[in-house]
Amino acid sequence: MKILLKVAALWAVATLAIAQGVPADAAASQQTVTQEAPAAPPAVLPPERRWRLGAAVGYGERTNPLIQSDDIPVLIDLDIAYFGDHWFFDNGDLGLEFLDNDVVTANLVARVNSDRAFFSKTNTRYVTYSLMAGGNLAMLNNPQTGAPLTPVEALPLEPPKRSYAIEAGVEALFGGEWGQASLHAFHDVSRTHDGYELAADYSYRITRGRLSLSPSVGVSYKSSALSDYYWGVHKDEQSVTLAAYRARGGLGWEAGLRTNYYLTKSVRLAVSANYERLQHSISQSPLVERDYVFGYFAGVGWQF
């Protein structure tokens, strides 16, 4: 609820800023003459620059579904991309285009798995027997000493460590007046989780004057191996404070809205929000506190 209020406030500020920038037609006096200029011929577009460099400064947050962890603040968002004739670098993703026609663009892509990022902001919390038992009278033993736990004895509860995985795969990009869609299939090539992810998403951009809205939806299937590596509690990690859990593969979904109001050719106000629903088996993990990830951001963006 607190997050929703923050987003609503940020959106309200952005809307006010947008309203300030629109000239009022009511200001026209009686002397005003309206003239219609002849339509100019379509412009010949210059080739796009290979580098795309941008930055946004503002305030945002992405919730962290992991227990004992902090939400991820987003104060600066950098956009660094290079598009060559065939290969490209797009904010950490490295791609090689092998097919491009009127219907589809297909790329081979290498990327870093995004689930690992949630495991970077974890804390250790100490829980007592009375807190763990929750009214259960069964005796519990300290796994280190083997001795029975006393109600006031505190044990650490810390999310386990996870590694980054390098994933390689194929993506197919589609686009037209109907919007943009993409299909992705990635497999771990770093032998970290040995799993795979399949995903599809769709977005549609609406441009009205200087305002651009881009709603999007997406679904993704994460395999059992991938889900269990990041979100399961493995046998060597189980403890009195953390029960063993095996996460299975499943389908998650997400929806988002990105809004840009262009002040100049290179400066814009940006407001965005994204909601991701974790797949069921991940959401049931004892490592997961919330079954969703919600991100939002409002700020000023520059395109260099």
């Binding site: 309206t34 991309a81 285009e97 990022a117 998403d201 999007s216």
Partner: protein, 143 residues
């Protein structure tokens, strides 16, 4: 005495130079146009904009408004201190509006001095290169 004569000569020179200095530097004319930016989506060829054009000058004169798309002025205001108009147009590329003075009752020549000038910019959002439209799924990627 010699110093007084020097000072008097300097003062007289300043007085004589003053009118010509004023004539060489015409008072600034302010041209204000809204909006200054036209945003075109990749699937569109132009954007429809109604430009709100206003100008103001401290000296009454005949002022003509021109743009870099057509050779003849869009409009001239005879002996005016201010003017305003609205212009609807389909914008496809960047262009400029400017104010200038007509030459001897004729429209301002192509090379006439521009008293005030405003550039209208065009921003194209989206790309025909589908790779530039891909959505990354990073934790920090919010834009």
């Amino acid at each position: 005495m010699r110093r007084i004569l020097t000072l008097a000569g300097f003062a007289a020179g300043l007085l004589l130079a003053a009118p010509s200095f004023a004539a060489d530097s015409p008072a600034p004319v302010k041209l204000v146009i809204k909006p200054l930016l036209c945003v075109i989506d990749k699937d569109a060829t132009s954007c429809a904009v109604t430009f709100d054009i206003r100008w103001k000058s401290p000296q009454p004169a005949e002022y003509c408004l021109s743009d870099s798309v057509q050779t003849t002025p869009l409009r001239c205001w005879p002996r005016a201190l201010a003017g305003e108009m609205k212009q609807e147009r389909q914008v496809t590329e960047e262009f400029r509006y400017w104010l200038s003075l007509p030459a001897g009752g004729l429209p301002p020549p192509a090379g006439a001095e521009r008293l005030s000038e405003v550039k209208i910019e065009v921003l194209r959002v989206g790309s025909d290169d589908r790779r530039r439209e891909r959505r990354t799924r990073h934790v920090w990627d919010v834009l």
